[in-house]
């Protein structure tokens, strides 16, 4: 997990496995606040209080045949190392939200990574899930809403070759500020 995008991909994979149909991803990089703030909210099946406490433990996993789930503990560890915090809220039947904060100028903060590719692969390889990305810095506020995109496409699948090409170029053009 060498960058923030790897963590985003990992958390979203958990959301999709939990049956989420909508995932909201908020990422703000603020030099003024000296903060990198990541929030991911889904409407998946959620967890009860006991399970929600356990997922931050590296020796817990709900996957059969595997006893260790490392994704969430690694993210929590990185946040805490970087002078930030990690909060997980979940309600059974409603969904899960993770709220992570990092100090932006901390020397151990991993790079953000390739956000353009991350947004593309998540939205195109999970066509049945709706994603709302809100990416911002101190100046620009960028929104990428797959419900809006699917509305404009009006039945043409988001994973069609033409659309993949379009979205690749669109993200290349608009997501250069972070």
């Amino acid at each position: 997990m060498d960058d923030i995008c790897a963590h985003i991909t990992d958390v979203v994979a958990n959301s999709v496995s939990a049956g989420a149909k909508k995932v909201f991803i908020f990422l703000e990089k603020s030099t003024i606040k000296n903060a990198l703030h990541l929030k991911i909210t889904d409407n998946g099946k959620g967890m009860d209080e006991e399970t929600a406490k356990k997922v931050v433990d590296p020796f817990f996993s709900t996957k059969t045949g595997r006893k260790v789930g490392l994704g969430i503990p690694l993210l929590k560890g990185t946040a805490e190392t970087c002078g930030g915090y990690f909060n997980l809220k979940s309600a059974l039947g409603e969904g899960t939200e993770i709220d992570v904060f990092f100090t932006l100028d901390h020397p151990d903060l991993p790079p953000i990574g390739n956000l353009k590719d991350t947004i593309l692969i998540l939205t195109v390889s999970n066509p049945e899930v709706d994603f709302l990305f809100n990416i911002k810095n101190d100046v620009i506020n960028f929104i990428f809403d797959t419900e809006e995109i699917k509305g404009l496409l009006d039945g043409v699948p988001i994973n069609s070759p033409e659309v993949i090409k379009f979205l690749t170029n669109y993200l290349d053009e608009h997501l250069n500020f972070i």
């Binding site: 995008c5 790897a6 496995s17 994704g71 593309l120 692969i121 390889s125 039945g155």
Partner: protein, 119 residues
């Protein structure tokens, strides 16, 4: 470049677009569990999407799945073809993924050196 331009794509797309998607000839599944991501599954997925877009492969769909329990072979991809055995490739990178598209998906010759299981 505006999102509104997507309307042009919609207009250009043939009317049987939805149909062709439902009849996707090939489904490629990429393992995107924690170990897959750590081993480079994102680059693999991106390479597959680039090839599909560049070659205009309208009957190929890429989706993702979680952990498969074979972490030492990650990144892994599965190729599901109508009426054929599922081919599982292991230790894939972006270049190998492009080769699998060219040889297996387009030319129907599985790349045996990367295959770890057929079922």
């Amino acid at each position: 470049m505006k999102l509104e331009d997507l309307k042009k794509i919609r207009e250009q797309a043939s009317k049987d677009m939805e149909l062709r998607q439902k009849q996707a000839r090939v489904k490629i599944v990429v393992g995107m569990g924690t170990s897959g991501i750590a081993a480079g599954a994102r680059d693999v997925l991106k390479a597959l999407l680039d090839e599909i877009a560049a070659r205009n492969l309208t009957d190929v769909m890429v989706t993702q799945t979680g952990e498969k329990g074979l972490a030492s072979h990650e990144p892994m991809i599965e190729v599901h073809e109508e009426g054929k055995d599922v081919v599982i490739y292991g230790n894939i990178d972006a270049d190998k993924a492009r080769k699998i598209i060219a040889e297996h998906i387009v030319n129907h010759n599985p790349v045996s050196e990367y295959v770890i299981e057929v079922k």
